[in-house]
C-alpha cells in the first residue's frame, strides 16, 4: 500500500484567502493511503521544502501530493525536493488549487470543496505512479541562429566565443538587418555602421561561424539536442567562392529601374546588386524578378563583364540538411504598413515618410547621399513635423497595434536633434502623447533635444495632413495650449509602430514555438525566462520576442547565447521520462501507433513468444525509443488494445483522476 504525504500550501494569502487550507488538509488526511497531511504558509520556501523532506524520511513516504500553485510553476522544485530526500522525483503530484481554484472562485465554501476534490484526484493519481528514471539523449554541439541582424550577430559571436560552431541563416543577401539601415544610434549618437560593421567582419572572420546568406529555414525536425534542419539556399546566380565583390557588374547592368528595398524604395538599383558597401558576404546577387537574362534569356552583360567569371545563370536553390543542438530565433521586426493611415496622406504625398525612410534620407549612404532633401522636389525642407505613436497604442483594431513600440520616442528625438544641428534654419515640431525615455541617459538626451536644439515638442496629435500645391497642410491639436495648430510643413515623418517580421509565423509553426496574438514569440516566462521559448531548445533573441532597442537587443542576444552555451556544454540531456511504452504481450504489431507518431519514435521487431503446448510464436511487436519519444500520447489512443501506454499519464492514472473528480 502506498504511504502518501499531503502538503497543502497557503501561498501566503493567495490560496488561504478563498480556500480553508485547514479543512482541506483534514479532509485529505482521511483518504486511503495518506499517512500525513499538513499545511504551511509557503510550501515552496526553504522551510516548506525541509518540512516535506523530513516528512518523507520520518514517515518513509512512497509518494507525495502538494496542493499548491500550478505544476508549471513548482513541479520541478518539488520533484527536486523529493529527490534530495531519497524519493523518486516522479512520485510527486501537484494539485493546482491556486490558479485553477482559489484565484477563480470567490466563495470560500465552494473553493474549499473544489480544492479537496482536486486533492483527491492528485492522490488517486499518485497511487498509480511508478518510479521513473529520466533517460539520456546526446546533444549535437552546434547551434543555429535564424536571422542575421544585430541580435543574430551578437548571439552567434557569443556562442562561437565559447567554442561552439554556429550557423547563421539570413534571408537577405547580407547580414546586418535593420541596424545596417540606421544612420546614428541613440543615446550616444555614434554611427550605426561604425559599431555594426566591425562585428559583421568578426562574424565573417570567425571560423566557428558559417553564414548562409540569401537562405531560409525550410523544415525543422527533431527536438532539443537533436534538431534536424533543412536550409533552402536560394539561388543568387553568383558563385560566392569566385565573386570578389568588385561591383563592376552592378554598374554595367542595363536593368536600372529596380526599387531598392535597402533604401525602402526611395531610389533604384540594378537587377544585379550588392545591398550596401559593407555587405557581408560582399557578393553580388541577381534579382530573378527583374533580370532580363533570367526572364527572357536576352542579356548576359554581367557575365561578360565579370572578370572572376562568377556569374552562373544555371544556379538553382540548394537544400542543405544540418544537425543542431539548439536554435535561436532572431528574426527581428519591420515597421507596419502605413496604407491604413490615410489621414496622414502617406500614400498621396512622397514627402510623408516613415522614420526608417527618414533615417535613410539622413544616412550618407542613403538615396540623397546624406543631405536631407524632400523626396518630391529634392529641395531643402524648412518645416518638418514628426508624428508619434502612428499605429501604436491603438485598441488592437484592425489597423493598429495595441502595444507601445518603445523605440520611437528615442529615435524621433534623435532625428529632431540631428536635423536641427545640421540644418539650424529648419523648424521641427514633434507631436507626442507621452515621451517615453526610460533608459540610461535617455531622458537627458531628450531634454538636450528640447533645450539645446529647441525642438518644438507639442503635447497633442496631428489630425490630418492635406498635400496642397507642394506644401503639407498639417492640422493638429495642442492640448496644453488649448488650440488647434495649422502648420504648412515641408515634410511629415510618421513614427510607425513596429511588428514582427512576417517570416516569423511559418517559422513558429515549424519550431512548434507559440506566438502571442501580435505574432511576437511567446517566452517561457515573461519575468523569469525571457529568452527561452516554452519549446525546449528554442531560444529568442531580439525584437522577435517584443519591441526592443539596440542596447536591450544586444543584452538579450548575450542572454540567449549564454542559455545556448549552457545547453551545448552538456554532453547529453536528461530527457523526459514520461514517454510511451508498449506492453509486448498485448501488442498486435498493427503499426497504428507508428503512423501517428510525430517523431518516428516507434520501430518494429519480430520477437519470439512462448505459444501453446511448447511452441514458439514469432510476433511483430512495437518498441518505443525513449530518447526520441516526447510523450504526446497520440499512439496510446491509436492503439485499440491499450498495449501502448504513457508513463506518468497512464490510462489507469487518468481514469483514476476522472473517478476521483466525479465521485
Amino acid at each position: 500500500m502506498q504511504r502518501i504525504g499531503v502538503f497543502v500550501c497557503w501561498c501566503g494569502s493567495n490560496i488561504a484567502a478563498t480556500v480553508d487550507v485547514e479543512a482541506v488538509a483534514n479532509a485529505l488526511a482521511m483518504e486511503p493511503g495518506v499517512v500525513i497531511s499538513t499545511n504551511y504558509q509557503y510550501m515552496c520556501s526553504q522551510a516548506g521544502q525541509e518540512m516535506i523532506q523530513n516528512a518523507i524520511r520520518e514517515h518513509k513516504l512512497t509518494g507525495i501530493v502538494v496542493c499548491s500553485c500550478s505544476p508549471r510553476m513548482h513541479e520541478a522544485t518539488f520533484r527536486k525536493t523529493a529527490q534530495q530526500a531519497g524519493l523518486n522525483p516522479y512520485m510527486v503530484e501537484i494539485a493546482n488549487i491556486r490558479e485553477q481554484c482559489s484565484w477563480v472562485h470567490k466563495d470560500k465554501l465552494t473553493g474549499t470543496e473544489k480544492a479537496i476534490i482536486l486533492g483527491r484526484a492528485a492522490i488517486a493519481k499518485v497511487h498509480l505512479n511508478a518510479p521513473l528514471t529520466a533517460g539520456q539523449s546526446p546533444v549535437t554541439k552546434r547551434a543555429l541562429v535564424i536571422g542575421g541582424g544585430i541580435a543574430g550577430i551578437q548571439t552567434a559571436l557569443d556562442i562561437a566565443d565559447a567554442g561552439f560552431e554556429v550557423d547563421i541563416v539570413e534571408k537577405k543577401p547580407t547580414i546586418g538587418g535593420k541596424m545596417s539601415q540606421i544612420d546614428k544610434t541613440f543615446p550616444t549618437l555614434d554611427c550605426a555602421a561604425c559599431i555594426l560593421t566591425p562585428k559583421m567582419v568578426d562574424v565573417a572572420q570567425n571560423e566557428k561561424i558559417k553564414i548562409y546568406s540569401y537562405s531560409e529555414v525550410e523544415a525543422v525536425k527533431g527536438f532539443v539536442g537533436n534538431f534536424h534542419v533543412t536550409i533552402r539556399k536560394k539561388a543568387r546566380y553568383v558563385d560566392e567562392t569566385k565573386c570578389t565583390g568588385c561591383g563592376l557588374c552592378t554598374e554595367k547592368c542595363p536593368q536600372k529601374k529596380v526599387p531598392n528595398e535597402f533604401n525602402l524604395g526611395l531610389d533604384t538599383r540594378r537587377a544585379i546588386y550588392i545591398p550596401f558597401a559593407q555587405a557581408i558576404p560582399k557578393v553580388a546577387t541577381i534579382d530573378a524578378d527583374y533580370c532580363s537574362m533570367l526572364k527572357s534569356g536576352k542579356c548576359g552583360v554581367c557575365s561578360k563583364v565579370c572578370t572572376a567569371g562568377a556569374i552562373d545563370y544555371k544556379q538553382t536553390d540548394q537544400l542543405i540538411e544540418q544537425e543542431y543542438g539548439a536554435i535561436v530565433v532572431a528574426t527581428g521586426f519591420n515597421p507596419i504598413s502605413m496604407d491604413k493611415f490615410d489621414e496622414f496622406a502617406y500614400s498621396k504625398s512622397p514627402d510623408v515618410v516613415t522614420s526608417l525612410e527618414y533615417e535613410r534620407l539622413m544616412n550618407a549612404a542613403g538615396p540623397t547621399g546624406g543631405t536631407l532633401l524632400r523626396p518630391s522636389d529634392k529641395t531643402h525642407p524648412h518645416t518638418i513635423v514628426f508624428v508619434q505613436c502612428v499605429g501604436s497604442r491603438c485598441d488592437s483594431s484592425e489597423k493598429g497595434k495595441s502595444y507601445c513600440s518603445k523605440i520611437c520616442c528615442m529615435y524621433t528625438a534623435k532625428h529632431a536633434m540631428l536635423t536641427r544641428e545640421k540644418y539650424p534654419d529648419t523648424e521641427v515640431y514633434v507631436f507626442y502623447i507621452d515621451v517615453r525615455t526610460p533608459g540610461k541617459n535617455f531622458d537627458e538626451f531628450y531634454r538636450r533635444a528640447v533645450e539645446d536644439y529647441d525642438v518644438h515638442y507639442v503635447k497633442g496629435m496631428v489630425g490630418k495632413v492635406t498635400p496642397e500645391n507642394g506644401k503639407l497642410k498639417v492640422q493638429a491639436s495642442d492640448l496644453l495650449g488649448g488650440r488647434q495648430m495649422h502648420i504648412d510643413a515641408d515634410m511629415v515623418v510618421l513614427a510607425a509602430a513596429i511588428e514582427p517580421d512576417k517570416s516569423a509565423r511559418p517559422l513558429a509553426t515549424m519550431l512548434t514555438a507559440s506566438m502571442d496574438t501580435n505574432d511576437f514569440f511567446t517566452e517561457a516566462h515573461p519575468k523569469l525566462r525571457p529568452v527561452e521559448s516554452p519549446t525546449a531548445g528554442i531560444f529568442l533573441s531580439g525584437a522577435c520576442q517584443g519591441p526592443k532597442d539596440i542596447p536591450e537587443t544586444v543584452a538579450q542576444a548575450g542572454a540567449a547565447a549564454s542559455k545556448v552555451i549552457g545547453l551545448l556544454a552538456k554532453d547529453n540531456l536528461t530527457c523526459n521520462p514520461c514517454v510511451a511504452k508498449s506492453d509486448e504481450m498485448m501488442c498486435n504489431g498493427c503499426s497504428a501507433c507508428e503512423k501517428v507518431c510525430p517523431y518516428g519514435a516507434i520501430t518494429y521487431m519480430d520477437k519470439e513468444f512462448r505459444g501453446p503446448n511448447r511452441t514458439t510464436l514469432i510476433r511483430r511487436v512495437a518498441s518505443v525509443n525513449p530518447a526520441v519519444c516526447q510523450g504526446c500520447g497520440a499512439c496510446t489512443v491509436a492503439c485499440p488494445s491499450g498495449a501502448m501506454d504513457l508513463q506518468g499519464f497512464s490510462n489507469s492514472q487518468i481514469m483514476a483522476e476522472v473517478d476521483a473528480i466525479c465521485k
Binding site: M585, N588, C590, A592, K595, P640, S641, G642, M655
Partner: protein
C-alpha cells in the same frame, strides 16, 4: 460453382501448393455453414460445402493460421478480400503463407430472411438460376434469390476481389451507389430522443456474447481491452445500460477507419442488433468530412483516423450538421 471450388481445393492440395485448405463445412444446420480446415482429399469431398449460405468471412482465421507451418489456401468472396487486405496492411497475416483463391459472388442468402418471408421448416435449398427451390416440411416452394439476400448483399458495395492469387469466376467491380447508408440517413433524420430510444431498444438486447467481436476481422487484438482488467473498462457482462452502450461505442471507435463494412457483426448477432449501422455511421462521416475512403481497398493509403490535413473541419461541425434538435 460448388463443384469448381471443391475441384480447385483438391487440385491445390494434390499438387502440393498448399498443405491445407480453409473453406466451409456444414454446421449445426445445412444453412449454417461454419469455416473448416481440410487437410486431405477425402475430407474435402465429404465435408467441404459451398452454397448460398457460405457468408462467413474467412480472412480473420488467417491471422493465426498464417503463422503455422506450410501454406494454406483460402476462398475469399469480394467483401472478404477487403478484410484480408486490411489485415495484410496491418501486418497481421503473413502473405507468403497464404494462397488466395478469389470467388465471384452475386450475393449470399440468410435463413432468417427466408423465414421472415413466411417460409418455415426448410430442409434443403437448391439454387437454380435466378431463384431458389426450397424443399420444406410443408411442400416445395420457390422464391426469387434476390428476396432471400442478406442485408449487406442487398446493399453490396463491391463485387471486386481486391487481392487474389487465382480467380474462380468473373471478377466484378465496385458498386458506387449501393444505398448502404440509407438506414443511417433515416436514423440521422430522427430527433435525438427518437434516436436514443431506438438505440436503447436495440442495445438493451445485447447479451455480451462477444460474437460480433470474435468474428470481426478488424477487432482482432491479442488481448481485448474489455478482457484486460488493468485497462479500467474490463467487463464481461453488461451490468448497467451504460455498459451496454459503452461496449459498442468503444468497439465502433476502435474499428473506425479500419472497418471494411463486411457486415459479419450484424449477420452473426444472435439478437439481430443492426451493429453494422454504427460502423457505417463512422464510414459515412469519414467519407463526408475527410473524403471517400474504403478500408482495405489498397495497401498504402493511411486510414483517415491515423491521418490529418491542416484544414480539417472543427468538431463544432457536429452541432451545425447534426440531426434535428
Amino acid at each position: 460453382m460448388r463443384e469448381m471450388i471443391k475441384a480447385k481445393a483438391i487440385e491445390l492440395l494434390e499438387n502440393g501448393t498448399v498443405n491445407r485448405v480453409l473453406g466451409w463445412k456444414a454446421g449445426e444446420f445445412f444453412y449454417d455453414l461454419t469455416p473448416g480446415i481440410f487437410t486431405s482429399r477425402e475430407e474435402i469431398e465429404e465435408t467441404f460445402e459451398y452454397s448460398v449460405f457460405s457468408a462467413a468471412n474467412l480472412s480473420k482465421y488467417l491471422i493465426a493460421e498464417s503463422r503455422k507451418e506450410g501454406k494454406i489456401a483460402v476462398f475469399l468472396k469480394p467483401c472478404d478480400s477487403y478484410s484480408f487486405q486490411q489485415l495484410l496492411k496491418e501486418h497481421r497475416i503473413w502473405r507468403d503463407r497464404v494462397y488466395v483463391v478469389g470467388i465471384a459472388c452475386d450475393g449470399m442468402c440468410s435463413m432468417d430472411v427466408i423465414r421472415d418471408k413466411g417460409i418455415t421448416g426448410v430442409t434443403a435449398v437448391e439454387e437454380d438460376g435466378e431463384n431458389l427451390k426450397l424443399t420444406t416440411l410443408y411442400g416445395d416452394k420457390t422464391i426469387a434469390k434476390a428476396d432471400a439476400l442478406l442485408e449487406r448483399c442487398v446493399h453490396c458495395k463491391s463485387r471486386k476481389v481486391v487481392v487474389f492469387d487465382e480467380m474462380i469466376g468473373e471478377n466484378g467491380e465496385e458498386i458506387p451507389d449501393s444505398h448502404r447508408f440509407d438506414m443511417v440517413e433515416k436514423l440521422e433524420a430522427m430527433t435525438p430522443e427518437e434516436r436514443f430510444a431506438f438505440w436503447r431498444g436495440e442495445l438493451s438486447r445485447c447479451i455480451r456474447c462477444n460474437a460480433c467481436r470474435n468474428v470481426c476481422p478488424a477487432c482482432s487484438c491479442e488481448k481485448c481491452v474489455f478482457d484486460n482488467d488493468k485497462s479500467g473498462i474490463a467487463q464481461k457482462a453488461a451490468a448497467s445500460d451504460f455498459e451496454e452502450n459503452n461496449f459498442h461505442i468503444i468497439r465502433a471507435f476502435h474499428v473506425a477507419s479500419r472497418c471494411t463494412d463486411c457486415g459479419e457483426c450484424s449477420r452473426v448477432c444472435p439478437q439481430n442488433i443492426p451493429l453494422h449501422l454504427l460502423n457505417r455511421k463512422f464510414i459515412r462521416d469519414i467519407n463526408e468530412l475527410y473524403g471517400e475512403y474504403q478500408a482495405g481497398s489498397d495497401m498504402d493509403t493511411k486510414p483517415p483516423l491515423m491521418n490529418f490535413t491542416t484544414d480539417d473541419c472543427e468538431p463544432s461541425v457536429v452541432y451545425e450538421r447534426g440531426g434535428k434538435v
